[in-house]
Amino acid sequence: MFGLYETAFGALTWGNIIMFLIAGLLIYLGIAKKMEPILLVPIGFGILMVNLPIGGMMIYSPEGFPAEVGSLSELIHAIGNGEIGLLNVLYTYGIESEVIPLLIFLGVGAMTDFRPTIARPVSFLFGATAQLGVFVVFIIAYTSGLFSINEAACVGIIGGSDGPPTVYLTAALAPKLLGPITLVAYSYMALVPILQPPIIKALTTKKERAIFMKPQLRQVSKLEEIIFPIMIFVVAALLVPKSVPLIGMFMFGNLLRVSGVTDRLAQAAGGVFIDVLTFLLGLTVGALMPASVFLTGQTLAIVGLAVVAFAFGTAGGLWTAKLVNLFLKEKINPMIGAAGVSAIPMSARVVQKMGQQANPKNFLLMHAMGPNMAGAIATSVVAGILLGMLL
C-alpha cells in the first residue's frame, strides 16, 4: 500500500498452498485421529509458520538451509534486522547443536521400564536383527541415485522407528532432509498398527502366531534394574563410542527412574521437561519444511522407502525369533521378534492384539516389550555406528 505496506498474498506460491494442505492434514490427524498429536500438531503448525511468506519466522539460505545464527552478540542485532527468525534460533541452539533430541532421550529413559528386557535378555537379538530394515533401505536409497551416502543412511534409520536417534543422526549427516525424515519417521510410528499386521501375517503361519507363552516373566530385582543402565552404557560406549551421547542420556534418564532416590528428577525428566522439548522439536522440524525443500522427489522417495524399512525391520526380528525357536524346548511366539523394530509401545501392542486373535489365552504384551526396549537401544547403537563411519 503506497509502497509502504505489503500483504503476503502477492508472495504466495502454489508450493506454499500445497504445504498449507499438508500442514492442515497433519493438524487434523493429530487432533481428530489422535495420531502422535504431541508431535504432529506442532510440526503442522511449524509448516504453516514458515510457508506464510514474509513472516520471517525462519530465514533460509539460497540452498534451503536455515540461515546461520552467528554468535550470541550478533543475535539480537540479526533478529532486529530480520536477518534471522525465532525459529532459526531454536534450530541452531536446539537441533543443530543436537541438544533437544538428546534431552528428549533423557526423558524417554526416565519413562522406560526395562524389566521385560532384563528378564529375557535374548530380546537384544531381536532388537539387533530388527535393524535389518535400516541397512536394506540404506542400500536401496544410495543405489537409487536420489540420495548421497550420508542422506541414504539417514533415510535408512527411519527403519529403527525411534525418534531421537533419527533426529540426532539426520541433524548431523543430512540436515537438509531433517524435516521430511522426521515427519515420515514419526508418522509411520503412528501407522505401525496398520503397517505391521500384514507383514507379520505374511511371514508366519497361524500355528506360529498361536504359540502360547506363560503370561508372567521372571521377577527382576532392584539391584538388576540399577545395574542395567550403567552396564548398558559402559559396554555400548566402549563398543560404539559415537553412540555415547544417545545411550548416555537414555540410560542416565533410566537410572534416575530406577535408583529409588531420584524420583523427583525422573518425574521432572519424564514430565513437563520432555513435553516442552517435544513441542520445540515439533515446531522446529515443521519449520524445516518450506515448499522449496519439502516438495521434491526425495520426499516422495522417503515416504516409499520408509515402508520398505519397516517391512524388513519386522521381518528381521521375526526371522530371528523363528531361528531362536529351533534351539528352545519351550518355544516362544515368533511375533515378539517383530516388536524389535521399537516404535514403543505400538509394535508390542500389535503383537499382543495379533497373539490374542490367534490364541485368546495368549497375553504377549510384556514378552513383546522386551524386544521393543532392546530395539530402542539397538537403534541408538546403529546411529552411533553410522556416525562413526560417515562423519
Partner: protein, 51 residues
C-alpha cells in the same frame, strides 16, 4: 558413480557390528542376571493352627 565397496562396508560392516554389539550386551545382561541374587518369591504366611 556408486561406490560399491563403501556400500558393502557400511551396510555389511554396520549391520555386522550392530549384531555383534547387541550380542555382547545380551551376554553381559545374561551374566548379570545369573550373578545378581533373584528376589525371593513371596510366600503366603499361614497362620499357626490353634492348639
Amino acid at each position: 558413480m556408486i561406490d560399491w565397496s563403501l556400500v558393502a562396508k557400511i551396510a555389511g560392516g554396520g549391520f555386522g557390528v550392530t549384531i555383534l554389539a547387541l550380542v555382547i550386551l545380551y551376554v553381559v545382561a545374561w551374566i548379570v542376571g545369573l550373578i545378581v541374587p533373584k528376589p525371593k518369591a513371596e510366600t503366603k504366611e499361614t497362620p499357626e493352627k490353634e492348639k
